[in-house]
């Protein structure tokens, strides 16, 4: 199954888990599974209308889903999905 990498700022909402195995054939299904496993993540990823927030960057392998098919981007077993956080520390 695909594995979703959780960045440090969001691990507070996944009981500290850094890699979460998710079910689904595309990004949308994987995120539904992720937020079912960890409901506290939901408001950080989606707006009130249920759309992915603009600052949330998801990559499948090396590619941004915005450059693929968005949340409909298909995923396969073994795919590494990365949530890339906005961080600003210096």
């Amino acid at each position: 199954m695909p594995v979703l990498r959780i960045p440090t700022p969001l691990r507070a909402y996944t009981n500290g888990e850094s890699n979460v195995t998710v079910n689904g054939s595309n990004i949308s299904e994987a995120l539904t599974d992720l937020t079912t496993q960890y409901p506290a993540l939901r408001p950080h990823l989606f707006n009130e209308g249920g759309e992915l927030r603009a600052f949330v960057n998801l990559f499948v392998g090396e590619s941004n889903i915005k450059d693929l098919q968005g949340v409909s981007t298909p995923i396969r077993d073994g795919d590494k999905i990365m949530l890339i956080p906005s961080i600003a520390g210096g």
């Binding site: 850094s18 890339i84 600003a88 210096g90």
Partner: protein, 383 residues
Amino acid sequence: MLPQLSREEILRYSRHLLIPEVGLEGQRKLKNSSALVIGTGGLGSPVSLYLAAAGVGRIGLVDYDTVDSSNLQRQIIHGTSTIGKLKVESAKAKLLDLNPGIQVDVYNEPYTSENAMRIARDYDIILDGTDNFPTRYLTNDVAVFLGKPNVYSSIFRFDGQVSVFYAKEGPCYRCLFPEPPPPGLVPSCAEGGVLGVLPGTIGTLQATEALKVLLGIGEPLIGKLLLYNALDMSFDFVKLKKNPNCRVCGPNADIKELIDYEEFCGVPSHDHEESSGIGAYDITAKELSERVKTNHLKLLDVREPHELEISKLPNAINIPLGQLASRLSELDSAEDMVIFCKSGSRSMRGLELLASAGFKKVKNLKGGINSWAKEVDTNLPIY
């Protein structure tokens, strides 16, 4: 015409001159080049030290802060002997000690929409080492408008990111992050902490990228983002593309000049404890110490459990901010309550959350437990 190297310089840079990719010509290029480093903190320390050591002819340093002992766990350009001094002056002295043959220009002022274009205009390259979102967007937009490479890195706890945002040849920061995260979602280093060596690792990579760009060698991280995690010791690379809808570098860009970045991000452009006036919901540590003598007050500590090992207030209950929404049933909205954290910003978000859930009798401890440690109980450590 590139400047010549003196006999002393040839000896000083001999290890560079031996590398064919640098050589005499590359070293003369570095001598002729200039780099502006925004922020003289965790990232700015290794970045400016290595650029100075490498012989970049002119280095600009922008910072308006003074050196504090809590900086020294990571900001290795400063020292115990420069605590209390201006960061730019402390850094300049160290850089000129390392390499007296370079020029260091300092800007002891906040980097803002008013001065940024003037400051950045005369530099070949800009290095983003700031500690907050408004200045990161400002740094990006300045680099786009001036057509200069923005060598970017940022850090949080164990995570680091590095890229070269150069709108002439690839994406800019806004192509990846069109909008900042909502205020409060991503803690700053002052709030969330950072492993001291992390800016060393990441800043050194940032300096490497800057030198490659100045020398015109190798493959700079244009269109690529490096993601580093110190705990996993993982380096991941992702590809970045220019966003056709980018508001500053896209074909239909609608942002043509610098904007109000604090308003855009909804947060102040610094990573400090707030010291502005007392808000309607604030209570000072002094006031609180009087109130607890006479009134019954519930004290709600929204810090993380590991922070309680550093300092705590007697009789306070602890619900970490991230759990507050799901643990409201443990609190009584009819009770007078004072909410606090380390320095007052997390607790302010907790107060907003409580207010939206109908809690009307909550005050925020201004300056957090650190202000209690300063003003009331000086035996308590400040962190």
